[in-house]
C-alpha cells in the first residue's frame, strides 16, 4: 500500500488493488449555520467543491471515500443543503465513484445518495483498509487493519524559540489503538490514521489533546507511545510523545 498526500485538500490517496481518495469532514452547507450564529458569508460550496474536484482530477482515484460530515446541519437539512447537495454529488459522481462513511452531521442525507454509496455507520473494510467517521465504536471487521477516520479535525501547533510559529495547521495522527475494551482483539495491531478536516474553517483540535479525549471511543483507545504526527503534505513532524510542548506549558 502506498499513500499519497494532497496538501491542497487535505486529502490522502490509498493505493492497494484500487486507488481510493479519502477526505474527511467537508461540512458542505456550513454557511447557513454560520449565518444563524451571526457570521454572514456567502456559500463556500462552490470553492470547496472546486478544491475537491481539483484534487480528484490530480489523484485520478477509483473511489472517493468521504469519512463523514459531508453536510453540516444537525439534525435536519437546511435550504442551502437541499439546494446544493444534489449538485455537489452529481459533480463528484461525474468524476469518480463515491462512498460515504456517514458522520454525526449527515442526518437526512440518505435521500440524496444512490444505492451502495452509503457505508455502514460503524465503518467498512474496503480493499484492506478500514474507513469510518470516528464518532462510534468501529465494526469488529475493521480491527487488525489500518483504519482511516475523520470527526476529530486534528491540527498541529508548532512552537519555535520565541513563541508559537505555526498555529492550527491541519495534520494527521497515526497511532495504534487498544481495542480490547470493545471485545476480542485480533492478532494484528489496529492502527488509526486521523484525517484532518477538508472543511477549511474548522477550528480543529490540537493533536496533543486528542488521545484520551471524550470526543470519541477511538480517541480514548489511542496508544500515545505509538503515535506519529504528519502535516497535511505528509511531512513527518515527530513522534507523538516528542511533540514539542507548548513552551510556556512548563511554567
Amino acid at each position: 500500500m502506498q499513500p499519497e498526500f494532497y496538501a491542497e485538500g487535505p486529502a490522502v490517496l490509498i493505493e492497494r488493488q484500487e486507488r481510493s481518495l479519502i477526505i474527511a469532514d467537508p461540512h458542505f452547507g456550513v454557511e447557513a449555520d454560520l449565518h444563524r450564529h451571526g457570521l454572514h458569508f456567502q456559500s463556500g460550496t462552490d470553492s470547496r467543491l472546486a478544491r475537491l474536484l481539483a484534487v480528484i482530477e490530480q489523484a485520478d482515484p477509483d473511489y472517493l471515500i468521504v469519512l463523514g460530515d459531508l453536510k453540516h446541519m444537525i439534525p435536519y437539512v437546511t435550504y442551502q443543503e437541499r439546494t446544493e447537495m444534489p449538485e455537489v454529488l452529481r459533480r463528484i459522481r461525474r468524476e469518480t465513484q463515491f462512498r460515504l462513511a456517514p458522520g454525526n452531521h449527515d442526518t437526512g442525507l440518505e435521500q440524496y445518495l444512490e444505492k451502495g454509496e452509503l457505508l455502514p455507520m460503524n465503518g467498512a473494510l474496503i480493499d484492506g483498509t478500514g474507513y469510518f467517521h470516528g464518532h462510534t465504536i468501529p465494526d469488529p471487521s475493521l480491527l487488525g487493519h489500518l483504519i482511516l477516520c475523520g470527526h476529530h479535525h486534528p491540527v498541529v501547533n508548532i512552537y519555535d524559540a520565541v513563541g508559537c510559529a505555526l498555529r492550527g495547521t491541519p495534520g494527521y495522527l497515526l497511532a495504534e489503538i487498544d481495542p480490547s475494551v470493545w471485545g476480542p482483539v485480533p492478532a494484528d495491531p489496529t492502527r488509526v490514521l486521523l484525517v484532518p478536516a477538508f472543511y477549511e474553517l474548522a477550528g480543529g483540535m490540537d493533536i496533543r489533546l486528542i488521545p484520551g479525549n471524550k470526543i470519541s471511543p477511538i480517541a480514548k483507545a489511542i496508544l500515545t507511545e505509538t503515535g506519529e504526527v504528519f502535516l497535511k503534505d505528509g511531512t513527518y513532524v515527530a513522534p507523538f510523545t516528542e511533540l514539542r510542548p507548548d513552551p510556556l506549558g512548563e511554567v
Partner: protein, 903 residues
Amino acid sequence: MTSAIQELKDSLHPKLRAVLEKRGFDEFSEIQMRAVPKLISGINAILIAPTGTGKTESALLPVFHHMLTDPLPDGFSALYITPLRSLNRDMMNRLEWWGAELGLKISVRHGDTTQNDRRKQATHPPDLLITTPESLQAMMMGKVLRKHLAAVRYVIVDEIHELADGKRGAQLSVALERVAELAGEFQRIGISATVGNPEVVGRFLCGKRPCTIVQVPVAKTLDLSVKFAGESFGDQTKLIEKCIDAHTSTLVFTNTRSVAEAIGHALLPRGDTDVHHGSLSREVRIDAEDKFRAGMTRGMICTSSMELGIDIGQIDHVIQFNSPREVARLMQRTGRAGHQIHATSNGMILATGFDDILESMVIVNKAMSNQPENIRPHINAADVIANQIAALAVERGEIAIEKIEQIFSRSFCFENAGPLIREVIAGMEKHYLIRTENGMVITKSRARKYLSLNLSMIADEKKSMIFDVVSRKPVGTLDESFVISWISSGAVFIARGRIWRVLDIDEDKIMVEPAKNAKGELPSWEGEQIPVPFTVAMEVGRLRRLQNFADYRADERSVRFAEKVLSEMKKNRSITSTDKLIVLEDSDEGVVVNLCGGHKVNETIGRVLSILLSARYGTSVGIETNAYRILLRLPKFLRAPDVEEVLLSLEPEHLEAILILALKKTALYKWKLVQIAKKFGAIDADADYEKISMNRLLDLFDGTVIEKEAFRELFFSSMDVESAKTVVAMLKNHGMETKTSRLSIIGAEGLFTGRDVVVPPGEDQAIIESVKHRIDEQDVILACMHCRKWKSKTKVARVPDQPVCPVCGARLIAALKPYEEPAFAALKKKTLSTEEREAETRMMRNANMVLSSGKKAVVALAGRGVGPEAAARILNTFATGDNFYREILKAERKFVQTHRYWG
C-alpha cells in the same frame, strides 16, 4: 457701554434683548462680539475660543434671534449636537432658563432619555433638541421623528474637534447630509477647541459650502510651566497636595484612569478631593461635579472625561500629572482654568522621569507658541459608508445608487469616494445586508437589526477582564475582538508590561497566571494610550542633543534631573539618541532601538524591522514600542549590528508594501479586521465564534473592501507611515545616523508594555525549525566499523563534527538507529548470513559517509527512514542550512509513502 455692544444688542430680537437685560448681560466677550453679527447674517461658521468665554452663547444668541423672528415650523428647528451625554445634560441645565424666558421648547435626547420623554418628543416636538450623533442616527430610523427633522434650520455641533478626528465624525458628516435631504439646506455652526487647521474643521462641517472661521487664540491667555514631581509616588502626591492647598479650586488631569484612581486614593484622607473618570458610574460623576461646583471639594482628579466643556464652575488652577503627550490636549485641559473673560489660565505639568520631563518641556513650549496638532478627519472610511448605506436603505426601503453617491459626495469625508461606494455596496450584498436591482439598493430584513446594533461607529466592545489567579487581582481588560481572534487556553500575551498565560476563559473573565519565559506573542490593546506625535518626539530628540534647557519653561529640579541622567549616560560611555541619531542597544531581552519618533512612527518602523528580520533569519520576533524606543525580542544570535544593517537597508517607498505583509498575520490587524467586519455587518456584534477557526474565517476577507479598510485605518490611526518615511529618508541622506552600543539607562527606561510577535513568512520556517529540534533530540548509536569494538549511544545534537573511535582512533564511524544495534552486535560472529552481510554493507556505506561528510551525514542518517542511499542523495545535493533540512524532509516524505512503512 460701548457703541459696539449697544449695536450688537440692538440687532437682536426685543424679547432676547429683554432677557439679556434680565440676566445682567452687559458685556460681551471677544468671540461673542465677533461671532454674533456674522451668524445673524446666516452664514456657516466655526467658532474657536478659550473655554469659558461664552462660545455657546455666541452660537445660540443668533439662533434664538432667528427662532423668535421667523415663524416657527412644526418640528425641530434647531439641533444642538455634542459628543457626550454628560455635555448634553450640562447644556440642558444651562438652556432651560433661556427656553423658559424666551418661550421656546428645549429638550434633550440621548441614550439615557426615558421612554416617556421620547414619546413626548415625538408628539410635541421641542424647538431645539440637544442630542448626540448616535441618537441622531437612531432618530432617522423613525418615521415620525424624520418628519420633525424635516423642520431643521440650524445645526450646532459642539466640541466638533472631538468628533472630526474620528469615525464618529465621518458618520455625522453623512448624517448631516441625510438631514439636508429631509429638511433642505440649514445653517451650520461648529464650536471647536484650538486646532492646528481650523479650515479643515470648517470643511468637515460644511463640505463645499462656504464656511467662515471666527477664532480667538487660546495661547495668549495660557501660563504654563513644568515641575519635577520627584521619583517616588509619595513625593508626587505630596506635591499635588501642596498645589491643591495653594488654590481655591484645582483640576488634576491624569493620562489614565488607574493613575487617577491611585492619586485619588492617596488623597482620600483629606476629604476635599474627588475622582472623576469614564469608568465611574454616572451618579458618582454627577455627584463629584456638583460638589466641586458648590465648592465642597477643592480638588478633582480626572481624566479626559473633564477635558470637554462640562461646566463645573470656577477653576483657578490646572495640574497635568505626567506629560499630556499632545499639545492640543494640554491647551484644552489647561484652558479650563480661569473661567472668566480676560483671565489667564494657569497650568502646571508635574513630570516624573527623564522622558516625561523633556516631553513636557517641549509640549509646554509648543502650547505657549500656539502650535496644536492638526485635526485629521477619516477620509473614505469604508465601514462608515456601509453603515450609512444600510441606514439609507432602511430609511427609504430602496434608494438609487446614484442618489447615494450624490449624498456622500456632499460630505467632506467622502467627496472623493468615487468607485469605493459601489465596491462597498457589492460587499454588503455579499454579506446579505442589502440587495441591488436595476441600480437600486434595497433593504433586507437583517438591515434594521444590524442598524439598531450599529448606530455608533465607536467600537464599543465588550471588555473581558484579565484576572491573575496567583495574586487574585484583576490585571486589566482586553477587547472582545482581540480575545476571539487570539486568546485561547494556553495562549500567552503581554499586558501591563508582564507576560501572562491564559488558564481559562469565563463568560467575561480571562483567568491568567504570570508566565516566566520571555516569549510573549500578543499585544494587549491599551485603549487609554495617548500617542506622542512625531513632531513632539523629534523636538525631544533635539532637546537631548542641544540640551538648551534654559529655553524651556521648567523648574530647576526638572533641569537638574535631566542633566543628571545625561551625565550618567556620558559616565557609562553610553550614547544618547537624538533627533539626528538612532542608537541600537543590545540587551538581555533583545535589541532596543532608541528612536525619538513618537509612538506611531516607532510602531511603524518596529513592525517593518520585525518582518524583515523574521524573513531574513527565520525566527519569530517580538516587538514592543513606546515614543522613544522599540524593543525587538530576538533570539540570542541576533545583535544590534544585524538590526542596524536591516534598518539602513530600508527604502522609503517600500515601507507600505512591507507593512501590508507585516501586519497581515498580527493580532493588531486581526483585531482591527474583526472590528470593521462587525461595523460592515459581516459579523454580528453578538456573533458566536465557537467551533470556528477565526483565523481562517478572516482569510475570507482577503482582497475585499473590508480588508482594505482595515489597512487604511491601521495606516491612518495606529501608524504614521508618512513620518516613518521621513525618518528612513533621513537615514539615506545622512540627516540621521545610527550607532550600536550596550544597553543604556535611557534605553532601559520606561516600562515596556507588550505588543506583537511577527511570525516568519510561510509555514516552512516553523516546520524546519521543528524538524531540527526533533533530529537533535534523536538517539543515535555511533559504532566503529574499523575495530568494531566500540559503540556509544548519544543524541544527535551531542555528536561531534567528526566522530572518532576512542578505542582505535579510526574515523570510520557508522551512525545507526537504535534498532540497528543488534545488527551491529551480530557482525562479531565469524560467519554471517546473507542478510547480515547486507546489513554490514549498509553500515560500511553509512560509516564511509560519516567519514567524508562528518556530522552532516549523521544528521541526514537520523532522518525518519533515511538509509545510506537516501542519505547519499541528500548529501549529494550539497545543500546547507535550512535547505539541507528541506532535503531531509523530502526524503522522509518519500519514505512515508512507501509500502515498507505502511505494511
